[in-house]
């Protein structure tokens, strides 16, 4: 199954038979003080810099979240989308917890966007899915609902089914849904990693859809988080992850994903890996 998203000049195909697509996560002020401060002032230069850096590091899609407390998020979203399209041409993932922000973003976006996100909560289904249908976008769907974030696998699978069914009623095709089975911190619950991996595998088997995951959650509260994130990503790719939302500028993360492609037959003659390696470690003459 292939999910196709696009900008006016570029198309990105996400699929189990394709190399992993990195969705760059860095344009998000949560936990990033400098970016939050810049956004509060309406200064888009840092957003542009993050966009260029992530694309240079191999991001094929950029997540755009501009939610800072006390600012007009709709206006910021429009400004950010404009600023980003001035410097890069990759498709964008419009990310907000507020449906009205998603709406203005989708209205302004030229191409087929990814929307982040819907989940199994009744209100979310009712508010977000119609927007996805209206703008013929693709959507990230989190396997949580009004009862919270499930810790078990079966509930995650059931919520994924429910979202897919609700989307189908509005004419949103299965291939335009990207499930996020939600990885939780193994610091708080040591069964959380396995539960997420089993959910990825179960959803791949049942629905065959593309899947993303916020990998950095797994390592919250632990030392050497990058190593944990990278190891988790490699395992997750094998389980069914096709388009992680991650930080491509962290070489160990990017390296892990490139090697995962290489080891699963998605990198002909190892050219993607070798090219990225040369970029990372330029030869000195």
């Amino acid at each position: 199954m292939q999910t196709v998203i696009s900008s006016p000049s570029r198309e990105v195909i996400i699929g189990h038979d394709q190399p992993v697509v990195m969705i760059g996560e860095r344009i998000n002020p949560t936990g990033r003080k400098k970016l939050a401060a810049a956004l509060e002032k309406g200064d888009m230069s840092l957003v542009q810099k993050e966009a260029m850096n992530q694309v240079a590091a191999g991001a094929q899609v950029l997540d755009v979240n501009v939610g800072v407390s006390g600012a007009d998020e709709k206006d910021l979203m429009l400004q950010a989308l404009q600023a980003i399209t001035e410097v890069v041409d990759v498709p964008l993932c419009i990310d907000s917890a507020k449906p009205e922000v998603l709406a203005v973003g989708l209205e302004a976006y030229k191409g087929k966007a990814l929307v982040n996100s819907v989940n199994g909560e009744e209100a979310k289904l009712k508010e977000v899915l119609p927007l996805v249908a209206q703008y013929k976008a693709a959507v990230v769907a989190l396997t949580m609902d009004d009862k919270g974030i499930p810790t078990d696998v079966a509930t995650r699978l059931a919520i994924a089914d429910k979202i897919v069914n609700e989307a189908a009623k509005l004419g949103i095709p299965l291939e335009d849904i990207v499930i996020d089975p939600l990885a939780m911190s193994v610091a708080a619950d040591d069964s959380a990693g396995l539960a997420a991996l089993e959910a990825l595998a179960g959803i791949k088997k049942n629905l065959g859809v593309n899947q993303t995951i916020g990998a950095s959650n797994v390592s919250y509260g632990l030392p050497d988080r990058r190593a944990i994130n990278a190891t988790f990503l490699a395992m997750a790719v094998m389980a069914g992850l096709t388009c992680p939302i991650t930080d491509p500028t962290v070489w160990p993360v990017r390296r892990t994903l490139l090697i995962s492609d290489l080891l699963t037959g998605k990198d002909e003659y190892a050219m993607n890996y070798i090219t990225a390696y040369r970029e990372q470690f330029p030869e000195e003459d």
């Binding site: 949560t30 936990g31 407390s69 006390g70 917890a97 507020k98 610091a187 708080a188 509260g221 632990l222």
Partner: protein
């Protein structure tokens, strides 16, 4: 003679398997239950908090220390009750995640650390509307109401909850502390009128103690 120092060390190092035997032995030797709690267990957790703040230990180590203490408390509580006395508490906290938000990991860590610091904590869960914060704060005679919010969509609910408390007859009696990834000090204190803001579980204990003029 009861080895109270060993209790402190067991909590501090998170030796859950040892704690029941150690606490039982101390009680059998006639050690005072509240002394065990206040002078050894809570002291151990203070050290754990300090090590966490200094990034010497990690979240799982803090959690297992707190759980070790709770396992020990489970041995002590029935004794206290049979003596007709209660665990001394330094204050009562009602805590929950604001309306529209279901995240609980950070909030639960705060609960664990507050309980381990001698507070009576009522965890009223996630997706909590302002009126429920108010109702539970009254019901339990809270000194502090804690609000957790991870999503920026929680902002209006943080504000509404703080304002509801400040507009009620609890104003002046109950102090409100906010925390969570979405909440900055500027937003919580300056814009919403909360009494305090905390950056993590250890900071939450510190902030609440300061607001209550403890230590």
């Amino acid at each position: 003679m009861a080895d109270l120092q060993a209790i402190k060390e067991a909590v501090s190092k998170g030796k859950r398997k040892d704690i029941v035997g150690l606490v039982q032995a101390a009680l059998d030797d006639g050690a005072d239950p509240n002394t065990i709690i206040n002078d050894y267990m809570i002291e151990a957790m203070k050290e754990v908090g300090a090590r966490f703040e200094a990034k010497k230990i990690f979240v799982p180590e803090m959690m297992i220390a707190a759980r070790t203490m709770q396992t020990g408390l489970d041995v002590i509580k029935p004794i206290l009750e049979s003596q007709g006395s209660q665990k001394e508490t330094v204050g009562t906290v009602v805590i929950g995640t604001v309306f529209g938000d279901l995240h609980d990991i950070g909030k639960n860590l705060v609960v664990l650390m507050l309980e381990s610091s001698g507070f009576e904590v009522f965890n009223i869960g996630e997706n909590v509307p302002p009126e429920k914060f108010l109702e539970k704060a009254k019901e339990h005679g809270a000194d502090i109401v804690g609000l957790s919010s991870l999503l920026t969509t929680g902002d209006p609910h943080v504000k509404a909850t703080v304002e509801a408390i400040k507009a009620s007859d609890l104003a002046g009696k109950v102090k409100v502390v906010c925390g969570g990834a979405a909440v900055t000090r500027k937003f919580a204190v300056d814009q919403c009128g909360a009494d305090g803001h905390a950056t993590d579980a250890v900071d939450a204990v510190k902030t609440i103690k300061q607001l209550m003029n403890l230590n």
